[in-house]
């Protein structure tokens, strides 16, 4: 038990030191990187490790005869969560969201310290001690609190009331509902029934199975399946069109959406919102191929109101590309990210 707790404590201390070091800039801030696409899982496991670490620390401290009062355990844990949300999570989350999580944590800590009568008493004890001020130390502490509290609360309210020029928060619908049909280059496409004409086998027949087999492997470091090189001179059907789609993508789209289709192209840093990350399972993997066709053809201008058409700089690609080229680019995007388009059934 003790060995296990010691390991926990060690992990906790190291983790805490690295985190504080990263916040203060002593340790480079990218020491422990957030892995793209796995961030929520990573955060949860980091937090789990920290909780294990804290349990270990508090166990060791009490076995060494210097138990940390329950009151301070609660306060410190709440401070830790607040620090983690503020400094660790990237891209930064707005204060309002942090405040929400902070409140939830507060309630959780409260439930934890008041789980039974004895715990609750232990938790209250330091507060009561200060209020009663039976010893000289507590008297001094009480006087300190009496002076500091009004100053701190007054100061905080001053800071929060002082006019600040933060960027206004804009919540936009990333995937607005598509229309029933869309007209591109004079031809009407019914989004429910249209198909990517290039998802074909070497004989030229529409063949979802065939194209799915040649899609790249899933997971990080996505790569083409063995023997499925679209640059092979003998590549036919689907694979040949993947290459053609890739050529169009790299001549038109990768400047924003990036070489890795992760929204970090050469010009991406200049835009707000930044371009879509196709490797994120929340984008093209969730959508039908026809939805992508509609979005690519109509661009930012073609978005309905809830999608903020005025904010997106996505060009209406029908101005630059033929319909065939748009379908090929979509084919390439699914191939390269390793996702299958969602189907209507």
């Amino acid at each position: 038990m003790k060995a296990l707790m010691s390991v926990g404590a060690l992990i906790g201390v190291i983790g805490l030191l690295v985190l504080i070091g990263m916040i203060l800039g002593v340790v480079p801030s990218n020491t422990v990187k957030l892995v793209e696409g796995y961030m929520p899982m990573q955060m949860l496991s980091e937090l789990a490790i920290f909780v294990a670490g804290f349990t270990g620390i508090s166990y060791l401290m009490s076995s060494m005869g210097m138990p940390l009062p329950r009151f301070w355990q609660g306060v410190l844990f709440w401070v830790f969560i607040w620090m983690y949300l503020k400094y660790r999570v990237y891209p930064p989350i707005p204060f309002s969201v942090r405040a929400m999580y902070g409140t939830v944590t507060f309630v959780a800590v409260f439930m934890w310290v008041s789980a039974n009568e004895e715990d609750w008493k232990k938790f209250k004890q330091p507060i009561i001690n200060v209020l009663d001020a039976n010893t000289g130390f507590h008297k001094a502490l009480r006087t300190l609190y009496l002076i500091l509290l009004p100053i701190l609360i007054g100061g905080f309210s001053f800071l929060s009331m002082k006019p600040s020029t933060e960027e206004p928060i804009e919540l936009r619908t990333v995937h607005p509902a598509p229309p029933a049909s869309t007209k591109v280059h004079g031809k009407t496409y019914t989004l429910q029934t249209s198909q990517n004409p290039y998802r074909v086998n070497p004989e030229g027949k529409y063949d979802q199975e065939y194209s799915n087999k040649l899609i790249v492997e899933q997971g990080m470091g996505r790569l083409m399946a063995p023997n499925a090189n679209p640059w092979d001179e003998k590549a036919e059907g689907y694979l040949k069109y993947v290459r053609e789609g890739g050529e169009i993508f790299f001549q038109n789209c990768h400047f924003c959406h990036g070489d890795n289709l992760n929204g970090r192209g050469l010009h991406a840093f200049a835009f707000n919102p930044i371009p879509a990350n196709f490797t994120d399972p929340g984008t093209i993997a969730q959508l039908q191929e026809t939805f992508i066709f509609w979005r690519v053809a109509k661009g930012g201008i073609g978005l309905p109101n809830e999608g903020f058409p005025w904010a997106s700089v996505m060009p209406p690609w029908e101005q630059h590309l033929t319909t065939d080229e748009i379908w090929k680019v979509i084919l390439f995007e699914y191939w390269h990210t390793g996702y299958y388009p969602r189907t209507w059934d």
Binding site: V32, F158, P163, N260, G265
Partner: protein
């Protein structure tokens, strides 16, 4: 953990080097090291990678790299021509960022898995990418193993003119950048560095202020494409910055080893290590910093400075100075505005030369003034009259056309660089007219507004004109607003050593408060704003330009009285609450003890 390792590694390396020195000191004559430039040691060629790694690397290459670097690695993939700088041509084995002496192949060892160990240049490059170019960092995309595999393929199959393992023709002379301790950037060191960049003729290419504006037009790389010297004020764009732009070691390395394939030579032979540190310290000191002199925060997602999309304007009593060095301007914080190429509508600008501008703003009771500064290597003023009217946006008919990408060099976009007709450098910004009627966060279109919500555009051109236009859509020519031009004022426009400084003043309100015609400014309101920039030597005109995202400008209200009063009231309230709690507690205790 990669960055942490670098901190540990040098210590280990020093230890190892010291051990090796003590052990073999008697065998290696010191005289042998004397023919090497200072700071370099002899290295050994790495072994050839096994065939299965090369085969695995081929799959990586044809998924990820082929699109820019091409089937044969000649830097001519489908994406190549719209990129500037162009993707590397691997065939000759010429690599820019290395620890090896000028002209030598970079360090690559398929067995050396640790990036940032200073032992595997190519792994470092693939891991961190080449900031300022289209080469992205592949860390987190490809595993370390996959990165080594693809490099095994590139170095053995695509480097055709040289062989990484040929002991007859290849040598390795390695800069010990990990173990040479940097000199502290003291004032004296910076002063010496400032003298050395003149003495060593760095300024001939990089310019007097290091903005890359010296000799900017005559430089070509090994393949005959135009190339421009680095702007030392934008260290995040240094190709060898390894995503750690303010690290002086990167500059020391580049300066010591040169940049193969470009006119940047190695200075290893004609500088001492100490001199190189002075220069590196000085160059590093030029990179843009915040008001307190601290490095700018770098956004890990983009490797560029972090962006705040609000351009605040502070209140000033009385006249606003037209001197950027005036105290009122110096006190005002500046904002970094990122600029991308306008690649939405034809003619698209894939190669935008202006990638950022710096903006400050002040206002008084009558006017709001914007101070805009940006680096532009060349002052461009069109000779004679331009063939189109200032209001014309659709200038495609006049030859400002979008160039189709070419894979060959003949007629490519890269070949056209520096051969364009010269137009005016220009800067413009727009606000929505009648923004008060636009329900937030709705905005008119970022590119010159739209038919429903017109844009109020102010455009300055390097011929000295400052004009006011109404924009009604990206494909509509501007409408000139003559009466408004009398009210706007160009307070300053100066190009000096590669940097433009333009100061523009415009009224807050019109004569009749008539906001159907132009944007009216109200204090404390967020007003959407977009910036546009044209580089005249890049053939920028009409819609061919650099453009920002939507920013907000806000006239910061003077701090209201309530801000001081309410917190005081709250603090007094807390004191009363405290008194009440203590009294209650004391009474309770008394009651108990009785």
């Amino acid at each position: 953990m990669s960055k942490l390792r670098t901190n540990v590694k040098p210590t280990l390396a020093i230890g190892a080097a010291l051990g090796a020195f003590l052990f073999s000191g008697s065998m290696i004559g010191i005289g042998h090291a004397a023919d090497l430039p200072e700071g370099f040691v002899k290295g050994e060629l790495a072994p050839a990678p096994p065939a299965e790694m090369i085969e695995a690397g081929k799959r990586v290459y044809f998924t990820k790299c082929v699109w820019c670097h091409g089937v044969d690695g000649a830097g001519d993939g489908p994406g190549a021509d719209r990129l500037w700088p162009r993707p590397r041509n691997f065939n000759q084995g010429t690599f820019k960022i290395r620890h090896t002496a000028s002209g030598e192949l970079p360090l690559f060892n398929y067995n050396e898995k640790v990036p940032d160990s200073n032992k595997n240049d190519l792994l470092d490059t693939v891991t961190h990418g080449l900031p300022g170019s289209a080469m992205p960092p592949w860390e987190g995309i490809l595993t370390e193993e996959q990165r080594l595999q693809v490099l095994s393929f590139v170095t053995t199959q695509l480097v055709k003119d040289r062989k990484f393992t040929d002991k007859q023709s290849e040598t390795q002379t390695i800069l010990q950048v990990g173990t040479i301790k940097p000199l502290e950037a003291t004032e004296e060191s910076l002063k010496k560095g400032a003298e050395l960049i003149v003495e060593k003729k760095c300024i001939e290419c990089h310019g007097v202020e290091g903005r890359g504006d010296g000799n900017a037009f005559n430089l070509k790389d090994d393949w005959g494409f135009s190339i421009q010297p680095a702007d030392w004020h934008k260290c995040w764009n240094f190709r060898g910055s390894r995503q750690d732009p303010y690290n002086v070691r990167n500059i020391f390395r580049t300066f010591s080893t040169g940049v193969n394939g470009t006119p940047m030579p190695s200075f290893a032979d004609n500088t001492t290590v100490e001199e190189r540190w002075h220069i590196a310290n000085f160059v590093n000191s030029l990179c843009e910093r915040d008001a307190e002199g601290k490095p700018l925060g770098i956004d890990p997602l983009t490797d560029k400075p972090k962006i705040n999309f609000v351009v605040p304007s502070s209140p000033i009593e009385g006249e606003i100075s037209d001197d950027p060095e005036n105290e009122m301007w110096k006190k005002q914080g500046r904002r970094y505005v990122a600029m991308g190429g306008q690649i939405t509508h034809k003619p698209r600008n894939f190669v935008n030369r202006i990638d950022d501008i710096w903006v400050k703003s002040l206002y008084n009771e009558k006017n709001v003034v914007y101070l805009i500064q940006w680096d532009d290597r060349t002052k461009s003023v069109a000779e004679g009259k331009l063939p189109w009217a200032p209001t014309q946006v659709n200038v495609e008919n006049f030859g400002v056309k979008e160039q189709p990408p070419k894979t060959g060099e003949e007629g490519s976009i890269a070949a056209a660089q520096n051969n364009y007709a010269v137009y005016n450098d220009a800067i413009a910004f727009q606000f929505p007219i009648k923004w008060q009627e636009i329900p937030a966060p709705f905005k008119p279109r970022y590119l010159f507004g739209d038919a429903k919500f017109n844009a109020d555009i102010l455009k300055w051109e390097a011929d000295g004109s400052l004009r006011s236009f109404k924009g009604t859509g990206w494909d509509q020519d501007f409408e000139e607003r003559d009466d408004f031009e009398e009210k706007v004022k160009l307070m300053k426009a100066e190009w000096k050593n590669g940097r433009w400084t333009v100061m523009i003043s415009r009224p807050l309100k019109g004569d009749k408060d008539d906001y159907d015609e132009y944007t009216r400014f109200d204090v404390g309101k967020y007003i959407p704003m977009v910036f546009f920039a044209w580089d005249g030597h890049n053939g920028d005109a009409g819609r061919k330009m650099a453009v920002s995202a939507f920013y907000y400008t806000i006239l910061e209200p003077p701090t209201p009285q309530e801000v001081y009063i309410y917190p005081a009231i709250i603090a007094v309230g807390v004191v009363i609450l405290e008194g009440w709690m203590l009294t209650r507690r004391a009474n309770k205790k008394k009651g108990k003890s009785l």
